[in-house]
């Protein structure tokens, strides 16, 4: 609260906060179990760590380690036990995927093709559209003579723009499809949960020019492979990927007395964007979550500027701007370039280190220091505990995760192992304590439905309506995962509308999307092989079979409490499945 707020108001609001928190805890207990049963399970847990058949824990683990259960998952985890399931999920490289699933992902250009090829296709489409637009403007101008340009032009122009939008749409549609199919279908669920987590941590916005072509590649090359690896590798991969270099402008950043500025009339400038977010968001943090352990990062605006100077020259292949030739076949890692002529060769003083001029290595040194800084360990531990345990995570757990991070050279897998085996994670208080983000809600509902998804478009639209468009977070801090961020009246109504549409079969996600209205011109551009689109045929009615409540309840098992089960089973059958997916139980995880 602000200091100006009258004290009476503070106490009223605080009282409401307290009572709401108490009510939320009471609810989770009342839904799932009688008090006695809950206590007996809690004591079993304390004695046993995890007992095979502990149903509440099975549900909890599937809700946090995975995006909720698919049909058969609850049964399987009951059988092998939660510890075995967790161990399996911590080693995604050892989980095999089916050839059909692999094929499903590989058929998407944004996943199969190297970043350079995607950039070529995007730039070609952009150039074609611009030229067509210019030609039409001139033509219309000539036709109109001295008279004002007539309405025909805007129509023609909008045709051109529509075609261009269509071309971009191929890329973004594929990005959505790649992400959602993996989240829904991948047997490596923890890897997908972590991919979502790290993507938000290292957010890049799809709407910023070149990033339209690159978000999926960024996720493929810089996020997913490192999601359970060493943080330093993840940090380095994001720092050097052209999607991040472009999003936070470091590709342009140029030292004041660098070679390119020496004789230039128009001086290129230092850009602090990336350097600032690198410290504030990606590593050290600002507010110092948890506040224990004394790992508060004290850095100043001067440190931001000095870091930006150290990172000058970290850019990408100039051909990505559309000039200087094709990039076909160039992978993202090879697009990263150090441009010595942009680099500031002066001495810097950063976080107390005296940095003697050392070109590209200055940036590498900065990433080394930041990755293993105690404040980074704490910042990441807090975020992981918040995402996996509770909006306000237990400080004892944050402390242990911080220590584990520092002891394992920033090994994310080991930090996650500590977290998933911790008493805090397995405590009853943590169960259903998290309110699902729209993404978690939509993905978990689709998983529970058991539908083989062939058209992700209705899911993409739902996410946008729920205020969480995929890859659509403008700001570099990414989407939050707290209840405060997502529990609002409009969101509740829209979630229930989605649940009802999905359960009654009105979202036809089980059949391919209708072919696009305009021809896809990307193929003509040459650089982008695009799947052949089937000729339009008479469309079957776009409806899928309604979901049935009883199998749905079986799939979700202990995720749905007794009260909701009672209401569902006492309701007309056409509505029952909608009630399951729209229930308060299913809103939480």
């Amino acid at each position: 609260m602000h200091p100006e707020t009258p004290p009476s108001r503070v106490s009223r609001v605080a009282a409401q906060a307290r009572s709401s928190v108490a009510a939320a805890c009471a609810l989770s207990a009342a839904i799932a179990f009688s008090l006695a049963a809950a206590q007996s399970i809690a004591s079993d847990q304390q004695a046993n760590g995890s007992r095979v058949g502990d149903d509440a824990l099975v549900a909890h683990v599937l809700n946090r380690v995975a995006f909720g259960p698919r049909p058969g998952d609850v049964e399987r985890v009951r059988r092998i036990g939660v510890d075995a399931y967790i161990d399996e999920q911590l080693q995604p490289e050892r989980i095999s995927v089916s050839p059909a699933y692999r094929q499903r992902i590989d058929v998407l250009d944004v996943q199969r093709l190297p970043a350079g090829t995607l950039i070529d296709g995007y730039r070609t489409a952009q150039r074609d559209a611009r030229e067509a637009q210019r030609a039409q403007a001139l033509q219309a101008g000539a036709a109109a003579g001295d008279k004002p340009v007539d309405d025909g032009l805007s129509e023609q122009k909008s045709d051109v723009l529509a075609t261009r939008r269509q071309q971009y749409r191929v890329l973004t549609q594929q990005a959505y499809e790649a992400r959602l199919i993996q989240a829904i279908d991948s047997p490596r669920q923890l890897q997908e949960v972590m991919t979502d987590f790290w993507y938000n941590h290292f957010n890049v916005f799809v709407g910023k020019d070149l990033d339209r072509a690159l978000v999926s590649n960024y996720e493929r090359d810089a996020i997913r492979p490192y999601a359970l690896g060493h943080f330093r590798d993840l940090l380095g991969a994001t720092a050097k990927h052209p999607a991040m270099l472009f999003y936070l402008d470091n590709w342009l950043s140029t030292g004041a007395d660098s070679d390119v500025n020496r004789n230039a009339k128009q001086k290129a400038g230092l850009n602090e964007n990336y350097a600032r977010e690198l410290m504030e968001l990606h590593t050290l943090g600002v507010e110092n979550e948890g506040k224990t352990g004394g790992a508060v990062a004290n850095y100043t605006q001067k440190d931001v500027t000095e870091l930006a100077r150290m990172l000058t020259g970290w850019t990408f292949d100039g051909r990505a701007t559309g000039r200087g030739g094709p990039l076909e076949g160039v992978e993202s890692a090879a697009l990263f370039t150090f441009a010595p002529r942009r680099h500031d060769n002066g001495t810097k003083v950063w976080l107390g280190h005296r940095i003697t001029p050392n070109g590209e290595q200055e940036g590498e040194f900065a990433l080394d220091v930041l990755a293993m800084h105690p404040a980074t360990a704490r910042h990441l531990s807090y975020e992981l505990a918040q995402s996996f345990v509770a909006d306000e995570p237990p400080p004892t757990l944050v402390d242990r995760l911080t220590a584990r991070y520092l002891a394992t050279d920033g090994d994310i897998r080991e930090v996650m192992r500590t977290l998933l085996y911790s008493a805090e994670f397995r405590d009853r208080k943590a169960m259903t304590a998290k309110f699902k983000t729209p993404y978690q809600y939509v993905v978990s509902a689709t998983r529970a439905s058991g539908v083989d998804v062939l058209n992700v478009q209705p899911l993409v639209g739902t996410l946008a309506q729920l205020g969480m468009p995929l890859y659509g977070c403008l700001t570099p801090d990414g989407y939050k995962n707290t209840e405060a961020a997502w529990l609002n009246p409009e969101g509740m109504t829209r979630r229930i509308n989605f649940a009802t549409a999905l359960a009654t079969g009105r979202l036809a996600i089980d059949r391919p999307a209708p072919p696009p209205a305009a021809p896809v011109a990307m193929a003509a551009a040459g650089a982008m092989p695009v799947k052949a689109v089937a000729a339009p045929v008479a469309q079957p009615p776009q409806r899928m079979s309604p979901l049935q409540a009883v199998p749905l309840l079986e799939t979700l098992g202990p995720t749905i409490g007794d009260k909701t089960r009672g209401v569902v089973l006492g309701t007309e059958p056409q509505l029952a499945a909608a009630l399951v997916l729209g229930s308060p139980d299913f809103m939480r995880r």
Binding site: E4, G141, V149, S154, N497, A578
Partner: protein
């Protein structure tokens, strides 16, 4: 920040719990204290023109020879000539496609703040809209929008429909912890949803009958929906107005939405803030003059604003409408009979409380030495100063909280007084 937002959100949810399932219509409003009630009658509508409208065509400085010189093919003719500007004050003229607004100008309910905008120099639509909606130019990290911060600290009691957004997606400007109601564009506003069916609502009501935050929020959403639907019911007070139109449907697009918004605001006194975004202003080529691309966009906007003013009836006396865009366009036309991304623009301000019939702000001129970077209209009024003035003097937003509404806003001595006092 996190903690503060959480607490504030709970306070809204708590207010919802007090009213429970009671419809929160006039009775709830009437129950508030008189002083809060008079403050909460004050309304603001923000219309955001995405894509950067050409402010030098909207309010054109025709009296300066540079204007015609910079724009040989797209400059608008002076007032009195064929397809000419509509004279405002002998110096500026209004785009002829905005003729429906002239009565408001004449009656002193329409003003402009010229050479205004966001001080950040970016010419990226993405960054500039982001800054104008977060209310923190140059600062990318701000996670909430200024209309949400405004909503959070307005005097009087929160209600489910206090903040309203037209369109399916919650815009950046409304991002934040305070709930915002939305009205779909076009006919979607009253399209039935599944929860409008009583048996469905009854079934879900059995699931959401608890006192937990999720259940309370769910019930609040139903109340807001009922309120919007009830207010949009054309059987109520709108019948006579429809008769006046001979039942002719309004043109599609903004005029239609403006009429619906007016009806909603008139019937639901809880609505205090509303937001509409309109696209299509990025006129790089073939911009046109009295007719053409820009005119085709301005025309429905002018019509819609005139309809909004008219249909709000007495409520217009308590309303301030602000039209803004992320930046202006270049002073000179480009090689494609269009204009490119620029800097300063004109804000439009309409409503009963507005000191209208005047082009406010310090006019920097458009001679070459006065242009920003020798290409665009300079900025002499920060858009935040205009909004802060409306917030404080019209909406009774607490002065002490202005620093939260617009953090790091530089203090100026010469903010234009756009409201009558």
């Amino acid at each position: 920040m996190q903690r503060r937002q959480f607490v504030r959100m709970l306070s809204v949810a708590g207010a919802g719990a007090l009213t429970g399932l009671m419809p929160m219509g006039r009775s709830a409003w009437a129950a508030t204290t008189p002083s809060a009630a008079s403050a909460s009658q004050k309304k603001m509508v923000v219309i955001f023109l995405r894509g950067a409208v050409d402010g030098l065509s909207v309010v054109a400085p025709y009296a300066e020879p540079d204007y015609a010189r910079y724009r040989p093919t797209i400059g608008l003719p002076a007032p009195g000539k064929t397809d000419g500007l509509l004279d405002l004050d002998g110096h500026f003229g209004l785009h002829p496609a905005l003729a429906p607004l002239m009565p408001l100008w004449t009656s002193g309910k329409l003003a402009f703040v010229h050479a205004s905008g966001s001080p950040d120099p970016t010419r990226s639509h993405f960054d500039a809209q982001d800054y104008m909606e977060s209310g923190t130019p140059g600062q990318k990290r701000t996670s909430d929008g200024w209309m949400n911060r405004l909503l959070g600290e307005l005097p009087g009691r929160p209600s489910a429909t206090r903040g309203l957004s037209v369109g399916a997606v919650l815009p950046r400007i409304y991002a934040g912890p305070v709930p915002v109601a939305s009205m779909a564009e076009g006919q979607g506003a009253t399209r039935p949803t599944i929860l409008d069916q009583p048996h469905v609502a009854d079934a879900f009501a059995r699931l959401y009958d608890g006192s937990d935050a999720t259940s309370r929020t769910y019930r609040e959403s139903l109340a807001a929906r009922r309120e919007v639907l009830a207010s949009l019911d054309p059987s109520a007070m709108e019948k006579e107005q429809m008769a006046a139109n001979n039942g002719a449907p309004l043109p599609n697009g903004f005029p239609d939405d403006a009429a619906r918004l007016a009806r909603l605001m008139r019937n639901d006194p809880n609505v205090q803030l509303a937001f509409v975004a309109l696209g299509g202003w990025d006129t790089h080529a073939g911009q046109g003059t009295a007719r053409g691309q820009l005119a085709n966009r301005l025309n429905p906007l002018g019509q819609g604003l005139a309809i909004l003013a008219d249909r709000l009836g007495p409520v217009f006396d308590d309303t301030v409408v602000v039209v803004m865009s992320e930046f202006g366009r270049t002073a000179r036309e480009n090689g494609n009979r269009g204009t490119d991304h620029g800097h300063g623009n004109a804000m439009w301000v309409l409503g009963g409380p507005v000191a209208g019939g005047k082009v406010h702000g310090r006019w920097p001129g458009i001679d070459e030495s006065s242009l920003n970077e020798n290409r665009d209209l300079a900025i002499t009024t920060d858009f935040r100063d205009v909004v802060a003035d409306v917030a404080e003097r019209h909406l009774a937003f607490p002065a002490a909280q202005l620093a939260q509404l617009f953090p790091d806003r530089p203090v100026h001595g010469d903010t234009p007084r756009i409201l009558r006092t």
